[in-house]
């Protein structure tokens, strides 16, 4: 953008380091072995190719999709807090499709599951879009409530219509091999969903600026009145499309998770991915490249936090403290930079 960008990026890195230091100070005062935790964090996230592939990148996959989903909505000025619900809807739909397609070859099953996931997520988001256009209910509230409904609905599905054949466990039947995304590297957990997510980001990077729809969404998000006046753009329409598209992408995230990682629908499929995705999207400045960086960062942080728990007994919740601190550090950068520049 401007020549200030490198300096801002440098400042961001400094803020991240500061956040990590604060987190270390908190842990130390709580009596934990900070050095051991640090080493474990590093090893678990980036210490080996296996850590990178099976832990960090695998965990980054849902963040890539969901960060992108949130960004698509936010870019058009729609506060979609409901990526979590759309993720669950997409996951449930994909599993239902996959189970129904048992016996079919993967070349048929997987595209069907993908379509089902996208449709499921889009449909769940469409409820919020409809509530907006028909009843003027703000998306920030409706999507939030729809998350709660979705969580309980999945609980119902895995105990009712979608319960596994023995009717013992609250989970769906297990997807047959033909309905699973193959793994990317033999023996590792990274699956093709990661590549799909990268492709989605690349496609988004192009379509955000290269297509009429992406361009309109950007204009509406930045300045609705100019978009309407100079661009003759229907702001309401663009926003509804953005929300539904966002839901579809979140639904694909659900598809990727159930077909690539869990192979079944479970309760607790998402530990609040949709909320973290807001942080991913905003940290990534709503840009696909930024989202890739932020998603991999979150993936690494979560993978590292698990390792720190395994090796140093640090509670997993520490990851969310660190994540919060890092986000605060990074979001402050532009303003600090501005004040810094004004003073000098």
């Amino acid at each position: 953008m401007t020549r200030d960008t490198p300096r801002q990026a440098g400042l961001s890195v400094l803020m991240v380091l500061a956040a990590l230091l604060v987190a270390a100070a908190i842990l130390r005062s709580a009596g934990y072995d900070v050095t051991g935790a640090g080493i474990a964090l590093w090893r678990g996230a980036l210490g080996s190719s296996s850590a990178v592939i099976s832990a960090t990148l695998k965990r980054a996959t849902p963040f890539l999709f969901l960060g992108l989903a949130v960004a698509v909505a936010f870019r058009a000025g729609v506060l979609n807090i409901g990526a979590d619900g759309q993720f669950l809807a997409g996951g449930a739909a994909a599993v239902a499709a996959g189970l129904a397609m048992a016996g079919q070859p993967a070349s048929v099953t997987i595209p069907t599951e993908l379509a089902a996931g996208a449709l499921g997520g889009a449909a769940w988001a469409a409820i919020a879009a409809w509530l907006r256009s028909r009843f003027e209910v703000a998306e920030v509230v409706s999507t939030l409530l729809l998350n709660m409904v979705a969580v309980n609905l999945v609980g119902f599905l895995v105990r009712g219509p979608m319960q596994e054949p023995t009717h013992a466990y609250p989970q769906s039947g297990i997807l047959p091999h033909s309905a699973r995304l193959p793994s990317l590297v033999a023996g590792e957990q990274l699956h093709w969903g990661f590549i799909a997510a990268l492709c989605a980001c690349a496609f988004a990077a192009w379509s955000f600026n290269g297509t009429a729809a992406g361009f309109r969404a950007k204009a509406v998000g930045l300045n609705p009145s100019a978009a309407e006046s100079a661009g003759r753009i229907s702001v309401a329409r663009v926003r509804a499309i953005a929300l539904i598209t966002s839901g579809a992408i979140a639904g694909v995230a659900g598809f990727s998770e159930v077909t690539g990682v869990t192979y079944a629908l479970y309760e607790g499929l998402s530990p609040g991915y949709g909320y973290m995705a807001i942080a991913v999207a905003l940290l990534g400045a709503l840009q696909p490249t930024g989202i890739v960086v932020a998603a991999v960062f979150f993936g690494a942080l979560n993978a590292g936090a698990d390792a720190a728990q395994r090796d140093a007994g640090i509670p997993a919740a520490t990851a969310s403290v660190i994540a919060g601190l890092v986000i605060l550090g990074v979001v402050t950068t532009p303003e600090l930079h501005r004040q810094f520049r004004r003073d000098s």
């Binding site: 953008m1 401007t2 600026n209 290269g210 297509t211 009429a212 361009f215 309109r216 950007k218 204009a219 930045l222 300045n223 009145s225 100019a226 978009a227 006046s229 100079a230 661009g231 003759r232 753009i233 229907s234």
Partner: protein, 450 residues
């Protein structure tokens, strides 16, 4: 009394004097003490009340609430039932009528202006600064206001009034300061000069626009050209207030029609009639599908500062775009525009906000003129531009006209209108009439009509 054409710096001067903005250099002295570090701080403690041209009313609140907002205190009691009589009482001091229970967003501009005035007065200021207070007021209300201002001044207060209206300034002012292009053009005792003297000081005598020689279209030939824009018996009503009344206008192919008028006289809606942004409540409007439009409020309506030049260029009719955007083509056109319109931008990816206001305007102009639209509508297109910038605007509009477009434009600068228009119409309180393209005639149409 502070006079000057649009963009002369009146509002800026007033905001700095009131401590709302910070000056790049120099000091503001109020009552012998320098006003400093006041940006964003309570100016009310200095006893200064400001009524801006852009209303600072909360649209979703009632009139009484807005008036009470100016009062000091935190847990000081505010009672809607008592605020109403208090507001009426304050209003009665001036004789201006307000409805305390009405919501501001449902009020006409004139009513809002009354509320804004009452709000300022209700705080018992020592100094009151008014920016174009009568632009939207009815003449009787304007008279009431000035009558109160005279009483206020004779009671020891100080009033600074920005106005376009010469009569007002000369009738009610103690002294008149004329600003032109950010400089004081003339300070005078109100009773001394003649109207024309002041008008000349405002709009300037030097023929700055004569740098280029406009090639006027042949008048009689144009008369037989087909009508491109037409409005017949059009009335526009907003929130119950008619902004245009029974207006009829025709602009022909290759003709450039200038519109004169003070702010709020109705020209804004007149121009937007032909872009489809305003729909008439009565009458018939005919306009081509594709109209180039240069609105006055660039940042609100015309461009998106965070977007790049090419994106802003592409913004036109983005609502109808389909599929993939051909950026190479847009880039080519944007680059072409950068060259033709002399926009000092390194490349098409630069953010529009990095351009100066004048260059932003050129960008908007370039976009709207791109593709040779059959009609061009421009709203005060040279506002805030320097001589060279203005020249480019004039040249382009004129070029479009020569090419065969119908051009309808409004300018707050009468001299400019005369210089470049084939015909001039004057807008006054929603009505339109054709005037002779001379400075006195236009000034008269704008002033004498009152």
């Amino acid at each position: 009394m502070l006079l000057g054409e649009n963009g002369a710096g009146k509002t800026t001067l007033l905001r700095i004097a009131a401590g709302l903005d910070r000056a790049d250099s120099g000091r503001v002295i109020v009552g012998g003490a320098a006003l400093s570090g006041l940006r964003g701080r309570p100016i009310r403690t200095q006893g200064i009340a400001v009524v801006s041209q852009h209303f600072s009313l909360v649209p979703t609140m009632t009139v009484a609430e807005n008036i009470a907002l100016a009062r000091r205190g935190t847990i000081r009691r505010f009672s809607p039932s008592r605020a109403a009589p208090e507001a009426i009482e304050a209003a009665q001091r001036t004789g201006l009528a307000i409805d305390p229970d009405a919501r501001v967003n449902g009020l006409s501009a004139a009513s809002q202006q009354r509320v804004e005035l009452v709000k300022a007065i209700a705080t018992d200021p020592r100094i009151i600064m008014l920016d174009e207070p009568t632009a939207v007021l009815d003449p009787p209300d304007a008279e009431k206001l000035f009558a109160w201002l005279r009483r206020f001044v004779s009671g020891g207060g100080t009033a600074v009034v920005i106005t376009h209206r010469l009569r007002e300034a000369m009738t009610y002012g103690d002294s008149i300061t004329v600003l032109r292009r950010g400089r004081i053009a003339r300070i005078t005792d109100a009773s001394v000069p003649s109207e024309t003297e002041v008008v000349t000081a405002m709009v300037g005598e030097v023929p700055v626009f004569r740098v280029s020689t406009p090639s006027r279209s042949a008048g009689p030939a144009a008369a037989s050209a087909p009508v491109v824009l037409s409005a017949a018996g059009v009335t526009v009503t907003r929130a119950g207030i008619a902004t245009l009344r029974d207006v009829t206008l025709e602009v022909r192919r290759g003709e450039m029609v200038g519109v004169a008028g003070f702010e709020g006289a109705g020209q804004a809606d007149l121009l937007r009639l032909f872009t489809g942004m305003v729909t008439p409540s009565r009458g018939v409007v005919v306009a081509p599908e594709h109209v180039g439009f240069i609105p006055e409020h660039r940042h609100r309506d015309a461009m998106i500062g965070e977007m790049s030049l090419r994106e802003n260029f592409r913004l036109r009719d983005a609502g109808d775009l389909r599929g993939v955007i051909d950026w190479r083509e847009t880039d080519a056109r944007t680059r072409n525009a950068i060259v033709t319109f002399d926009i000092p931008a390194s490349d098409v990816h630069a953010a529009a906000a990095t351009l100066s206001g004048g260059n932003q305007q050129r960008l908007v102009l370039a976009r709207e003129l791109d593709g040779d639209p059959p009609a061009i509508i421009a709203e005060n297109p040279t506002r805030g531009l320097d001589v060279r910038g203005a020249r480019i605007v004039h040249d382009r509009l004129r070029e479009g006209c020569t090419r065969g477009a119908a051009v309808l434009w409004y300018s707050s600068n009468a001299e400019e209108l005369i210089e470049f228009s084939d015909r001039v119409v004057a807008c006054h309180r929603g009505t339109l009439r054709e005037v002779a393209p001379t400075l006195p005639a236009i000034a008269a149409a704008m002033v004498a009509a009152e």
